[in-house]
Symmetry: C2
Subunit: 308 residues, 2 copies
């Protein structure tokens, strides 16, 4: 970890595309690899979290670390690093990359089983982390126009009775299938329904609907996103009523405004649903207010942790 220890302000260009922490070693992202036999891959038996760095500071780092610890506990993972070690690895990745705007991921996997061992309780868990340039589900110029979303017709969201979506996971088979459908229907992304026909979430994001001034978001069967929570908190501070509840696709169709939220892009307006234009086809006023509030919050000392 010499590069990180040096803590040099001038970043090494080999790390410009990102830096990963692999078994205690910092590597340029293009060289960062995991064992092919890690059950984090061969059984997708892992959990993870993603925190953003914006203008040189982590946003809500402790909330992400709290959620990661909860995911580890519920998923029965024993990360080889305690919270301080995880935190240090994230700082090392970001500092070494020299990125001021970064997408920072921490992962714990069940690990590589000893030959013949099948009991996951006995695997030695592994930890990985990396920082890469900030990821946008929709880039700012696309956000100005708004996202075209479709409701998946062919694919249902994985049921929480099978895989708990509040334990952040890589089980994206349904979401990727939905993404293919979105692209084929000339949309940017997709939202999936559950078996009861209720709205859940999309690939990497939570969804919000504004109906008669009330902010709705699905209550269950979704990741409890930190950006989702931020939006709910910011709305409450502004006296915007919120409703965390299950609802059907008709609420989306009747909504005045729609937006999606993610650590990868913040608050992103939706202006088309299933090929139909919402309202006047431009990001709505409440969405714009919350989007601005979200980015303003990145200067709130209570929520930021400078990298240096």
């Amino acid at each position: 970890m010499s590069a990180a220890a040096a803590g040099s302000a001038a970043a090494d260009p080999r790390y410009a595309d990102g830096c990963a922490w692999i078994e205690g070693e910092l590597l340029p992202i293009a060289e960062a690899r995991i064992p092919i036999l890690d059950t984090g891959f061969t059984r997708s038996d892992c959990t993870y979290d993603v925190v953003a760095v914006w203008d040189g500071a982590f946003f809500r780092l402790d909330d992400h670390l709290d959620r990661f610890e909860r995911s580890c506990r519920l998923g029965r993972f024993n990360p080889p690093l305690a919270r301080d070690g995880v935190r240090a690895a994230l700082f090392d990745c970001v500092r070494t990359s020299g990125l001021a705007q970064a997408y920072v991921e921490m992962i714990v996997t069940r690990g590589v089983p000893e030959a013949g061992e099948r009991d996951p309780r006995r695997f030695r868990n592994r930890f990985y982390a990396f920082a890469i340039p900030y990821v946008w589900i929709a880039r700012p110029e696309q956000q100005a126009e708004g996202i075209a979303l479709v409701v998946a017709r062919d694919t249902q969201r994985i049921d929480p009775a099978a895989v708990d979506p509040t334990v952040k996971n890589f089980h994206w088979g349904d979401l990727v299938r939905g993404l293919f459908e979105a692209y084929e229907r000339a949309a940017h992304s997709v939202v999936l329904l559950n078996a009861a026909g209720e709205v859940t979430e999309g690939p990497g994001f939570n969804l919000f609907a504004i109906c008669d001034g009330v902010l709705w978001t699905p209550a269950a069967g979704v990741l409890e996103g930190i950006t989702r929570r931020t939006v709910l908190e910011l709305a409450e501070r502004r006296g915007i009523p919120t409703r965390i509840s299950m609802f059907g696709v008709e609420r989306l169709q009747a909504a005045d405004e729609l937006f999606i939220t993610s650590t990868a892009g913040g608050v992103m307006p939706v202006t088309r649903l299933d090929g139909n234009t919402l309202g006047d086809g431009r990001p709505g006023p409440l969405t714009r207010t919350l989007r601005q509030a979200y980015w303003d919050a990145h200067r709130d000392p209570a929520w930021i942790t400078p990298v240096r």
Copy 2:
């Protein structure tokens, strides 16, 4: 690929624990790694197949390659290798490892996206393969005694409306959760039910029940296992009636015999279900017949392909 090209009968000891094919290079399994940003990992966006080598010969290789090609087609993967290339990579892995009994896996992933690219149609797919020593879900000595199985109470199988189980995939979150439950209930493994309470499959295996001389196995919501197919074909040749149908847990409870099937172990008798002993507590006669027929079939020239 010099080691493979040499085709030497004396295997290089560095490959004794297995050999992997990573981007055209053969590596000892302990050194075989995949990029941390491969969406085969970060979205579990991949498909795979596993074929066994027994006594120096692949078993039903073309059937596995057929299924792998079908999985790629349905999962919309474009493997960088055509069938002949895949086949050659598998032979290279096995020959280089020197293993006479091997578990041979082929994987295609969606690949590593270019920076900022989110459209999975535009990712360059990747191919990986490896051969490791033959894997047993239950070792022969445990098979002699029989497996203790539980029906999962806490976890449901992922619904085919979300992720198609006939496209072999690493979405094992539900199966691993079930395995934890099995170990806590002092069993060896677990079978999961679907949302309707019907029996599906377990971690890495299909399930069969023998009721009044009829061989039952679930029709849907399961991998269409090659070992499952082999058992159905062997049963039909012997005039044992088969029924491919959905059924509830009460059929398992009332069964005269139960067994599981997998490329990782063949036909494996179940002698306890949810803590209750089946029949006289020993592998049943029809199970033993089919198990013997399964292993005898490994000498059938129609089904084997010698590695050398």
